[in-house]
């Protein structure tokens, strides 16, 4: 197990220091969702947070996003305390959260336009992004006319469009069927391997975490604590067909699953 990171060198993109999160339940009882989390994410790293549902892994992501204020502790982005949401951290949610009154193109253009990019330029960039996520020809569709997988592609393009330095992905493929899910995992890796943005990726799938990540942060169930951080030492670019046959990949998956099993805790 790695020691709790206190102050890593300046290369850390995201630094989480002794963060705890308390909630009030509907019965007005205090519920500790996250307990004393310290974590450092290096620039350009793909880090997954893996844990059973209810372990507070999404909450941790929301704290980094600035959507939720931690009860205790502090999260920093490039050394600066995170006080609220900002375009340097782009979220992608399981629920897609697209703007239904905007077309596909309108959704993707929304961020750049908000940042003051000229209309023609924003449109050109957005069209290129939509082509990259495989949605050429769907620019004028409304979200309700798209499948779940297509919606998530739009959501990814919409977030990439305003060039966040960190992608915050909250179980982005959790609502999709298995086939769509693997395709999107492959596409995400292809896109990521081009520009290597820092990614914080929340999931409850061991295979997904190992396949995508440089580091897997294993969480305990409620209250969420960091149980262990596993470095995934697999070559990149990763190709699914090769990786599934790779004994090193299989070993990571089995080891992580076994660690969850042995603890007698709920499986992720």
């Amino acid at each position: 197990m790695q020691p709790a990171a206190v102050h890593k060198p300046a290369t850390a993109m995201i630094q989480i220091d002794h963060v705890s999160q308390m909630f009030q339940t509907s019965a007005r009882q205090d519920h500790l969702a996250l307990s004393d989390i310290s974590l450092s994410v290096a620039n350009g790293a793909f880090v997954s947070i893996l844990g059973p549902s209810g372990c507070g892994k999404s909450t941790l992501l929301y704290i980094v996003g600035g959507f939720v204020q931690p009860t205790k502790g502090i999260a920093r982005m490039k050394g600066e305390a995170i006080r609220g949401p900002g375009p340097d951290r782009g979220p992608v949610f399981q629920e897609f959260a697209l703007f239904p009154w905007k077309t596909v193109l309108g959704n993707v253009m929304y961020g750049p336009r908000q940042q003051g990019v000229k209309h023609a330029e924003a449109e050109a960039q957005s069209r290129a992004l939509l082509e990259m996520v495989g949605l050429k020809g769907f620019e004028n569709f409304y979200p309700k006319e798209l499948s779940g997988g297509m919606k998530q592609r739009v959501a990814l393009a919409r977030t990439l469009a305003y060039h966040p330095e960190v992608l915050l992905m909250d179980e982005p493929f959790g609502a999709l069927d298995a086939h769509t899910r693997t395709r999107l995992q492959n596409d995400l890796l292809n896109i990521w391997e081009r520009d290597r943005k820092t990614v914080l990726f929340v999931t409850h799938s061991v295979e997904e975490a190992v396949f995508l990540s440089d580091k897997v942060v294993m969480m305990t169930p409620s209250p969420g604590r960091i149980r262990q951080i596993v470095d995934i030492d697999l070559p990149r670019p990763r190709r699914r067909a090769e990786l599934l046959l790779d004994p090193r990949y299989q070993k990571y998956v089995v080891e992580i699953e076994r660690m969850f099993d042995d603890s007698g805790e709920l499986q992720p």
Partner: protein, 255 residues
């Protein structure tokens, strides 16, 4: 085909029942449908009554517009802020069950029998459903949608105007549609209480003078106005929210 013809059949059926009932009862104060329809051109051809209709429609338009301008922002704010909601909720709960026309005599004492009183009553009648639906619409806006906007750099006010308002629009327009019908109802009742001008004035003057064919002609005209306005509004609504999920389709309309 049947869907298009059905509403016409219903109207013809209603008139037929009316005609038969009137013939069977043979009562002076219950003219036949034909007599009522025959009185319509006389009402619409009269210059005075057109002036009255104009005055009614003007008050209705002003009352309705001002109500939307106030109620939509208020409802949206209530839907997004617990503090605003708990401040206005008790006030609205007090006003809600009161028939707005019942306030008319008091309002007349303060503001006279002129346009202001009547427009105010229309305003009150329209406001509540619009506030309620705007509130519900704003409350239902997905948190993650607002977070996505916040990450793009939208301020709280920008989020309210550029995310909450369009996201809640289908629900807001449902409230506006109810409000439109209520505007027509309160318009007529306010003119019934403060007789001075307007469509309600024609109707109740005719009633006083025993001109029952005119009374029923007016009922038909006001009813047709209601259907026409509603159909027009429904067209506009369908255009504004064609992006919305179909659960907001309201099939009950003549559009």
């Amino acid at each position: 085909m049947m869907r298009r013809v059905a509403p016409c059949l219903a109207c013809i059926g209603l008139l037929l029942v009316w005609q038969l009932a009137s013939l069977a009862l043979n009562n002076d104060s219950f003219p036949t449908a034909l007599e009522a329809i025959r009185a319509i051109p006389a009402v619409l051809g009269d210059k005075d009554s057109l002036v009255n209709f104009g005055a009614s429609l003007r008050r209705m338009t002003i009352g309705f517009s001002v109500a939307l301008a106030v109620s939509i922002p208020l409802g949206l704010l209530m839907g997004r802020s617990r503090a605003v909601a708990s401040f206005f909720n008790p006030l609205l709960m007090v006003i809600y069950p009161v028939p707005k026309a019942a306030l008319m005599p008091i309002i007349m004492l303060w503001l006279g029998v002129g346009d202001l009183s009547k427009t105010l009553v229309i305003f009150l009648g329209v406001s509540l459903p619009v506030i309620y639906h705007s509130f519900e619409g704003a409350k239902a806006v997905e948190e993650k949608m607002l977070w996505s906007g916040a990450a793009m750099g939208l301020s709280a006010i920008q989020r309210l105007v550029r995310i909450v308002l369009p996201a809640a629009l289908p629900e807001i327009l449902t409230g506006c549609r109810t409000g439109l019908v209520l505007a027509l109802i309160t318009m007529i009742t306010s003119e019934m209480i403060a007789r001075q001008s307007g469509a309600g004035n024609i109707l109740f003057n005719a009633l006083d003078m025993g001109q029952y064919d005119t009374v029923f002609a007016m009922i038909i005209i006001v009813g047709a106005m209601g259907i026409g306005l509603d159909a027009l509004f429904e067209r506009l609504r369908a255009r504004l929210v064609r992006w919305a999920e179909p659960q907001f389709d309201i099939p009950l309309s003549f559009s």
